[in-house]
């Protein structure tokens, strides 16, 4: 079991409100990702669940029991830290065994569990080394091993991949996803990287300034962002958000269209523009196009070998059925403006 319910959870440091009253339900076995820009309170929220910070108000209920005032160790949760937080003076074996030793488990059982965890995480060859003698990826695996052996109700991950290089990050991302498939244990994962959120999550919680902006599956957030913030945050490259006359054509204060939902032509289209920068990634080409319809360059995705260069004139046409409309408060308006108008 691993249900975590937050009821009106509030956190302030002095007069500074980090998290105003927040409600959230995390169900058993879910992979939930907290995502948001830095300073949005996502790490603080995780630390409140862990018990490393005390809540100012509200309740944290784990598996139906009020855990608001329980110390971290009594909550049955395991955490993987951004810095891995391994014990530098202990071998890999002792690091992984530490929580079991603290729980007073007998030695034979500890050895059995540590050996099993080491084998699953491909650490058997390093079991007697100290953390200082391991690479970043191996250290990360030790930290995960230390969390697994306790068989916790839920795993908490605090930006676990941000200290790894890009290639390793993709590999570890897959490993953590596989681990979740196998263990089926609740995982709560904090990241500022929306790609990690999109690829790993069952449910994404988008946070801004301590407030939940939207909760939903990755595709829900992608296809139906609730407001301009989520629209701009989820998806890479970012959605183009236009105000003024263009938005008015769709009876909206702001209209948005993703770079991949714009048709590109060298001869005709809705918006005329000049290519400022073109980024060739091989599979795709991203064009930054300056156009009189918007004061910032528009981002457009083109095929990998689209033959344009900086300075070329192009025409852009947004796909009607993929347009997002937002009102003057930034909230999404249902339906397509053209269809009704």
């Amino acid at each position: 079991m691993g249900q975590i319910h937050l009821e009106k959870v509030r956190k302030t440091f002095g007069d500074v409100v980090i998290i105003p009253d927040l409600d959230l339900q995390i169900e058993d076995g879910e992979f939930v990702v907290f995502v948001g820009p830095s300073g949005c309170g996502k790490s603080t929220l995780l630390r409140l669940i862990a018990g490393l910070e005390d809540v100012t108000g509200g309740k944290i209920v784990i598996d139906g029991k009020d855990a608001t005032t329980l110390p971290p160790a009594k909550r049955g949760l395991a955490m993987v830290f951004q810095s891995y937080a391994l014990y530098p003076h202990m071998s890999v074996r002792k690091n992984i065994a530490f929580p079991l030793k603290m729980a007073g488990m007998d030695k034979a059982e500890i050895d059995r569990r540590v050996d099993y965890a080491a084998k699953t995480l491909n650490l058997d060859n390093y079991i007697d080394r100290r953390p200082g003698q391991l690479s970043g990826g191996q250290r990360q695996r030790v930290a995960i091993g230390r969390a697994i052996v306790r068989e916790p109700k839920a795993f908490l991950f605090d930006e676990p991949l941000s200290n790894l290089d890009a290639a390793l990050r993709v590999g570890m991302r897959l490993e953590i996803s596989e681990l979740h498939q196998r263990l089926k244990t609740t995982m709560v994962y904090v990241t500022h990287d929306q790609v990690e959120a999109m690829t790993m999550a069952d449910k994404i919680v988008v946070l801004r300034a301590g407030n939940i902006e939207q909760v939903g599956s990755p595709l829900e957030l992608y296809t139906a962002p609730r407001n301009t913030f989520v629209a701009g945050f989820i998806g890479s490259p970012k959605m183009n958000l236009l105000g003024g006359a263009e938005a008015a054509k769709y009876q909206a204060a702001t209209m948005g269209v993703r770079p991949e939902h714009i048709r590109l032509s060298t001869t005709d289209g809705a918006w005329k523009g000049t290519v400022k920068v073109s980024e060739h990634l091989g599979s795709d080409t991203f064009l930054h196009v300056e156009s009189p319809v918007h004061d910032e360059p528009l981002t457009v995705r083109a095929g990998g070998e689209f033959p344009v260069h900086a300075g070329d004139v192009v025409y852009l046409t947004p796909q009607e059925d993929k347009i997002h409309r937002f009102d003057d408060k930034g909230l999404a308006i249902k339906g397509n403006g053209r269809a009704t108008g």
Binding site: A73, F81, A85, F98, M102, A103
Partner: protein, 276 residues
């Protein structure tokens, strides 16, 4: 980035470093040489450097005149006792300040250090009167408490800077893993801080060993450490430089040997906070 340094400049700076080192070391060297001279050679002008009749006479005389080992035992008691007491108070204090700082932590640390700026003689009379009142004059216990208190700010500061370098996340991980407060300190914090604690202990032992103001003023014979041993050869007997030198050499020898073998730790201790 390596800088280009010419050979001439390297030789120049090396020579300068040697010169400064020798100037600092010279008094000890001179004391060492004088301790093997006769009293007459010790005060001869022009001074003799090495061309004298080496003699162990001074060391023999000292041994017959006073009990060196009694003073040395006191020095060991005082330095180790005050250091042990210091650690018992300073480790939890520094732990709290490093990992759960409040808005006032920095102020408290500065205030603690500011007590070191007060001239010791300013509180001599009140402390002396208290010692009379409590019957602590010339007792090891009284001196251990005084030495412990005067060095406490330094111990707390040093441990604080070492603890600060330990990532708080590791202690949080221990907390998540179910470690009690005691186990968090003894099994996670202390083993990681061993180098820092070692150099703190070392520096504190040396400071207590060399402390002269309080040890001279608050003892007569029973609790007198090696500082009093040296002093006893200077004032009552006038200018017996050779014997005084021999006494000094005997007094500083143990700490010199300890210091020599723990140079690495000591340098780190003395430059604490300066380099990471």
């Amino acid at each position: 980035m390596a800088r280009n340094v010419s050979t001439g400049r390297k030789i120049g700076t090396t020579a300068l470093a040697w010169f400064v080192g020798l100037v600092i070391f010279f008094p000890i060297l001179w004391t060492f040489l004088t301790s093997f001279k006769t009293e007459l050679q010790a005060i001869s002008i022009p001074p003799v450097f090495v061309g004298f009749d080496w003699t162990l006479e001074n060391y023999q005389t000292i041994q017959t005149q006073s009990n060196y080992f009694h003073f040395m035992a006191n020095s060991i008691y005082l330095s180790l006792g005050s250091t042990a007491l210091g650690l018992i108070v300073a480790v939890p204090a520094a732990w709290a300040m490093a990992f759960s700082p409040t808005k006032r932590t920095k102020d408290i640390l500065l205030w603690m250090l500011s007590t070191k700026m007060l001239p010791a003689v300013g509180v001599l009379i009140p402390v002396y009167l208290m010692f009379i009142k409590f019957g602590l004059l010339d007792s090891r216990l009284g001196l251990i408490v005084v030495l412990f208190l005067i060095n406490l700010p330094i111990i707390v500061w040093m441990l604080y800077t070492y603890f600060k370098e330990i990532p708080g996340e590791i202690l949080e991980a221990a907390r998540m893993d179910g470690a009690s407060l005691r186990k968090e300190i003894t099994q996670v914090l202390a083993p990681m801080a061993v180098p820092g604690i070692a150099s703190t202990v070392l520096l504190n032992v040396i400071l207590s060993w060399n402390e002269a103001f309080w040890t001279l003023n608050l003892t007569t014979s029973n609790a007198a450490p090696l500082t009093a041993f040296i002093a006893s050869f200077s004032s009552p007997q006038g200018n017996f430089y050779a014997k005084l030198s021999a006494a000094s050499m005997l007094a500083i020898a143990p700490i010199l040997i300890v210091g020599w073998f723990s140079q690495k730790q000591l340098v780190r201790g003395l430059t604490f906070g300066a380099v990471k």
